[in-house]
């Protein structure tokens, strides 16, 4: 399946082509080239998926890993070298499909959405770069290749968030996104260093083989500051994943990242890049579970907390993209939780499978939500809910597709979200009751805030729209992707996921636990929807009253629990003012001052001895005589 290489090469070539010569092309030409190229990559991905799952299929009941392409890129030591290659296994193939699909949709959508923007070509070239990097990330054969592409997606995300570079908020957001994730990546890097130091390999296959034997044996009995070294390494790697996947407290960049164009948010900050962290944990899952199970517990709790935390914030946000952003955080946290509560092998690995399943379904409906939101924003030229209302009658396609997505995310059967979320909850139920109930509550919250959003946008009170600029349905180029994604959101839930993806690549049977999980979750979700309906469908004053009654808690939630301020305080006041400034001062005044001081001392000494040269012959002679007598005395008596 060497042709899978073209899935990577195509976007890269597109990037170079559009990046270097784009500004000479017409916008449409550039857009079409980009889209067609992406379509080609998507077609290839589907082909790969088909071939992998159905043509080659299982050997000995297991989906085998395949490495069709691999070459050494940079050799560090005999054992450690960065290879670039393509690793095909169930999850990477799945990711190929997800990424290319969503990316193609976004390409298509952007043709219209971004039409006429200055820097359109640049936009497409960055999209291609992102697709390339993300695809490279998922097919990475080794952890360092993953790190390379991890950084590349970071940069493409940076460039795309800051696409409107004249807008200071966009610039700030892109900077924040990059730096926060960069900080997290530092953990990732150190984790890699520790892991590779002991195991002597970067290779995923070697790391995970035989229940992560290489890791377990090489780090046996080593501990550092009370924690086993393996736990340190894996926790640090998780830190990288947490940064990209916006886990608390590294999530702060994601809401701000919404400054980028909406399709970008759909692609990068909803469907693909942000789940890279989940993917990373999944990739190294055997290592986690066998070498550092305590980290998995940590992941589960952090995930659960993040899910709850983000959901609560999402309830109060008024910027629709921010609601979606917090929703994304919350949903990714679901996936994390799922991984955290998972076991290994067969049905024990339900959480693992569920996580991937949710990743898969979430990609489509979240992309749909964002694109739908984009469509709305395109229509009303605002992100704020208060500027919207009753849009259903103006833009029915958007409304319907949005509704589908909302149902999917709320976990209402038969939409895809229901199936994946259900598996997560049942995995949690068997592992940790506290987490289970938290996640159940979050499911309710999810349903509530999504429908709050939906009702506020498409129903509620009609706002005074500009008469010349009545909102209107988006052009076909935008609605077609919406429809396609809606179809995905409806039907992907029916794919029998455990057949394809499991923690040990061995298919197993999973079934819906109606009594303990499904029914409660549906009930909770419906409750959330109903509350939302009551509160927002007609656009009543109740929400305001409730907000008032909540008082400080509400305010805190609106301000995202002041985490941005905390970060701002740490970066601006602590790091900038208390570390950097003093260091710079120290450098200029103490270090440099010492150097200048040497010069100054020399000058001063020079000035102070000049009196010796008095111009008086007799003093010269006196010095002469005393000098020679002194030398004589010293020579005599020493």
């Amino acid at each position: 399946m060497e042709y899978s290489l073209f899935i990577l090469i195509t976007p890269f070539v597109l990037f170079l082509l559009l990046g270097l010569t784009g500004h000479k092309m017409k916008q449409n030409v550039a857009g079409i080239i980009g889209t067609v190229g992406m379509g080609f990559a998507a077609a290839l991905s589907y082909m790969v998926a088909y071939q992998y799952f159905f043509v080659i299929g299982k050997t000995a009941g297991v989906f085998q890993e395949m490495i069709p392409v691999s070459f050494e890129w940079l050799r560090f030591t005999e054992k450690l070298h960065i290879d670039l290659g393509i690793l095909l296994d169930p999850i990477s193939v799945m990711m190929l499909v997800v990424i290319t699909t969503v990316s193609l949709m976004v390409h298509l959508y952007s043709l219209s959405y971004m039409h006429g923007e200055k820097g359109f070509q640049r936009y497409y070239s960055f999209l291609s770069l992102f697709s390339f990097s993300m695809l490279g990330l998922v097919v990475a054969t080794n952890i360092f290749q993953m790190y390379i592409f991890w950084e590349l997606v970071g940069v493409s995300s940076y460039s795309l968030i800051g696409f409107y570079y004249t807008k200071p908020s966009a610039v700030a957001a892109s900077k924040k996104a990059f730096i926060v994730t960069r900080f997290a990546d530092l953990g990732f890097l150190i984790g890699i260093l520790i892991l590779s130091y002991y195991t002597g390999t970067f290779d995923f296959a070697t790391l995970t083989a035989n229940h992560a034997e290489s890791v377990v044996t090489s780090m046996q009995g080593l501990s550092f500051m009370g924690l086993s070294v393996a736990a340190w390494a894996m926790a640090l790697i998780f830190m990288g994943g947490a940064g990209k996947s916006a886990m608390f407290p590294l999530h702060i960049w994601l809401p701000d990242a919404m400054e980028g164009p909406t399709p970008v948010s759909a692609l990068i900050h909803a469907a693909t890049m942000v789940v890279a962290g989940v993917y990373l944990i999944a990739r190294l899952f055997p290592v986690y579970i066998f070498a550092a199970p305590e980290v998995l517990t940590l992941i589960a709790y952090i995930g659960a907390f993040t899910a709850l935390f983000a959901a609560i914030i999402a309830v109060t946000q008024t910027d629709i993209k921010r609601v979606l952003a917090f929703s994304t955080i919350s949903q990714i946290a679901y996936m994390m939780v799922s991984l955290g509560v998972s076991g290994y092998g067969g049905h024990d690995g339900l959480g693992y499978m569920a996580s991937m399943f949710h990743l898969f379904t979430h990609a489509f409906f979240k992309a749909l939500l964002f694109l739908g939101a984009g469509s709305v924003i395109h229509a009303v030229h605002s992100n704020e809910m208060k500027d919207m209302g009753r849009l259903h009658k103006f833009m029915p396609v958007s409304s319907w597709t949005f509704l589908i997505a909302c149902l999917a995310i709320a976990g209402i059967p038969p939409f895809s979200g229901f199936f994946s979320k259900d598996e997560i909850l049942s995995a949690a139920l068997h592992h940790d009751k506290l987490i289970f109930f938290t996640m159940l509550f979050v499911a309710g919250l999810t349903a509530f805030y999504m429908f709050r959003l939906y009702f506020n946008i498409f129903w509620g009170k009609e706002k005074a729209y500009d008469s010349h600029h009545k909102p209107h349905e988006s052009p076909a180029l935008m609605t077609v992707p919406l429809i396609i994604l809606a179809i995905y959101s409806i039907f992907t839930g029916f794919i029998h996921f455990p057949e394809f993806i499991s923690s040990d690549s061995t298919p197993f049977a999973a079934h819906i636990e109606w009594m303990h999980v499904a029914i409660p979750s549906i009930v909770v979700a419906l409750t959330g929807i109903v509350i939302a309906f009551v509160l927002y469908f007609k656009g009543s004053e109740k929400p305001v009253q409730i907000a008032k009654s909540l008082g400080g808690f509400y305010t805190a939630t609106v301000h995202k629990f002041y985490l941005d301020e905390v970060w701002m305080f740490i970066t601006q006041s602590v790091i900038f003012k208390l570390i950097c400034k003093p260091i710079a001062w120290f450098d200029r005044h103490i270090i440099d001052g010492a150097m200048n001081g040497l010069a100054w001392t020399t000058q001063k000494t020079s000035a102070s001895v000049k009196g010796l040269q008095s111009g008086q012959v007799q003093l010269y002679v006196w010095v002469y005589v005393i000098g020679s007598l002194l030398i004589a005395a010293l020579a005599l008596f020493l």
Binding site: V617, G627, I631, L636
Partner: protein
Amino acid sequence: MDFSNFLLMQQEMSLMAVFVILFIYDVFCSDKGKQWFQPIACILFTLHTAWGFLPALTGEAFGGMFVNSDMTVIMKNILNIATLLVFLQVNNWLKSHDTVHKRGEFFTITLVTLLGMYLMISAGNFMMLYIGMETASLPMACLAAFNKYREKSAEAGAKYILISALSSGVMLFGLSFLYGSMGTMYFSDMTAQVVSEPLMIVGFVFFFSGLAFKLSLVPFHLWTADVYEGAPTAVTAFLSVASKGAAAFALMFTLYKVFGNIEVVWNPILWWSSVITITAGNLFAIRQKDIKRFFAFSSISQAGYILLGIIAGTPLGMNATVYYVLVYVFSNLAAFGVISAIENRTNGNTLISAFNGLYKSNPRLSLIMMLAVFSLGGIPPFAGFFSKFYIFMAAADRGQFLLVFIALLNTVVSLYYYLLIIKAMFIKEGDEQSVDCFVTDGYNKISLILCTAGILAIGFLSCIYEHIGSKVDLFNF
């Protein structure tokens, strides 16, 4: 009486011949004929210099009072070159109204001082050394006061003669002690008798102070700046290279030949005076406004570097020292050539500010000055770098790493003030005080070209250093 002894004094004889010819010419020639004085002097002296390069007889004469070896021939050649360069630089100055009628005196007196320096180098007896030193310094006082209607020059002459007389008194006092304890003044007889006794130490120190005075080592250096500043530039140039070089050579010979036994005594003395001399020279140089005074202090610190080679007390050290002086001659005279050219133009103004913007007005002169200054500062690829490196090597060879290190740190300071000159010439803008565009006279041009060639080539032509090295055989230390 065996007059064949005089045959050994090949260079001295030829020098005396030049002296006599010039003297007679000066006395008997009409004023009109005297305008040819400069070319004649230069040509004669060139011949004399060339003569010095011919193979020479070596050996002792006058019962060991006079010693000629390959090494002394080389040293004398170096002094010849220095003198020749100085002769080439004086034309413009001597043509000026004040001095035009006494240019003959300048040449004759200079030649006599040169003779004195020869004898200092070739001395095999302290009496000879003493007479040589006096011959080198008494007429030098007249030269310092040559511009006798300039107050500064008169003052310089007075300072020089007074201090030099005292210095010779102290030195003689020391010599009398040495004589008293050993009963002879012949180097070869003294060598074995020198021991570390109080009287000999005191005698040695007093004697050393005499040479240190000529070499301007701290604390015997205080005259240097005043005399250098006040004396006519050509004389300053001559003083700074020839007189200093001869003193360095003489010091080296006496230390090695006579006082080799008491190295434990003179080694620390030289060590400290080297450190203090370099440092003090540098410290004083930093603040100078007058370029001649500036070069006086620079030359004091250079003397400290010379000591580094002497202190080594090895053939390597001697080789490096002689080489150092050779390079120093070219570098310093290049600088003084430029200074005298500018001084003549600015009517005696030798402030550094006169050099402001020199690059704009006289690019060639400024480039030569830069070469000179870089060479003095020890910057490659100019000769000064090589000579400094070798002198450091020589000192390090004896394990004097600390000394070398101190000297090295001082080169940084010295670089600072050398760069001030560069800054004045290249970076600063000229004003009404600074010199305008002018043409240097032909003689000076030749001297500057020679100096430039020397600065550029001496380092790369390793044969020069190796040649000097090959002549250190007679080393009997």
